[in-house]
Symmetry: C2
Subunit: 192 residues, 2 copies
Amino acid sequence: MKLTLPAQTILLPSPVLIIGTYSPDGKPNIMNAAWGGIASSKPPCISVSLREATLSYHNIKQTEAFTVNIPSEKFLKEADYVGIVSGREHDKFSETGLTAEKSKLVNAPIVKEFPYALECKLIEQIDLGLHTMFIGEILGMVADSEVLNTKQIPDIEKVRPMIFGSFGSMAYYNIGEKLGDAFSIGKEIQQV
Amino acid sequence: MKLTLPAQTILLPSPVLIIGTYSPDGKPNIMNAAWGGIASSKPPCISVSLREATLSYHNIKQTEAFTVNIPSEKFLKEADYVGIVSGREHDKFSETGLTAEKSKLVNAPIVKEFPYALECKLIEQIDLGLHTMFIGEILGMVADSEVLNTKQIPDIEKVRPMIFGSFGSMAYYNIGEKLGDAFSIGKEIQQV
């Protein structure tokens, strides 16, 4: 039975984005954000939406840079932790044992232990209400060689990223089985 | 070994968003988009980025409305198919056997067979280059009662959405195992 329901911000799957920023005095911070996605192919852009209450919001406003770090599933606890506490009271890198390495392209830290990171320069900010959407142009990427395919692209089966199940389950999941090839399996319908 | 690589639009996981629109003469269309995400909690907003080459881009410009339909994994072929062909030459609803039902809130069609859909009114459009980001305010949601939890929120374990593995694998995946509770499992670090 179809039900008509109030508006909900439920997107399945939602990603687990670990946003890396520096404060103006150079202290690195990371936070866990689920509101974001790729925004454009050319130029390559990604968006992430943050509340003004977060330290990361102010860091991005001031440095005009951020990284999007993708944790593999083995960093479950670390990824969740950096979404629970604030960088104002906690040094999240030292508390999680993660290592901040400065991006060579933008003024933002990369999480060394995570499989890959996108290095972003702020190009747009849109105040939508509780959240401000920050759009970053992706200037480069840093990745572990072990997670790349033969074309030097991160392979989801090697990255083993987490999925956020959003408010319906309030839990993280891993990637399951391969279902089929994109831009391919659908052709079976076309041929009917 | 860490490698420094060119910019890539690789976000893992990426969602499988089936965007529903009407042309000005009322013909329903659906397309498969991976570039998008939740943009704001209050007001509830979602973004989707489309190329000007798509029919859906022009439909949204004219109707100022769209739906975001989430397919369950059993609609693998249908979801892929509507990303391969254009609504200019194909009636994608009839060819896939899917049913268009008009949203009661916005001028856009809902895919009846899919577990749930977000009904969106266009509030912002940002030209970024090859893609234009359309930000929609989510006015309501339509969902199958079977995919809801006790709070009337779609549960990822019941929805069984697909994941797009992006350019590294060019394949779709399903949801794997539950890893832990969000805003909870990370507290084990805090207590160390």
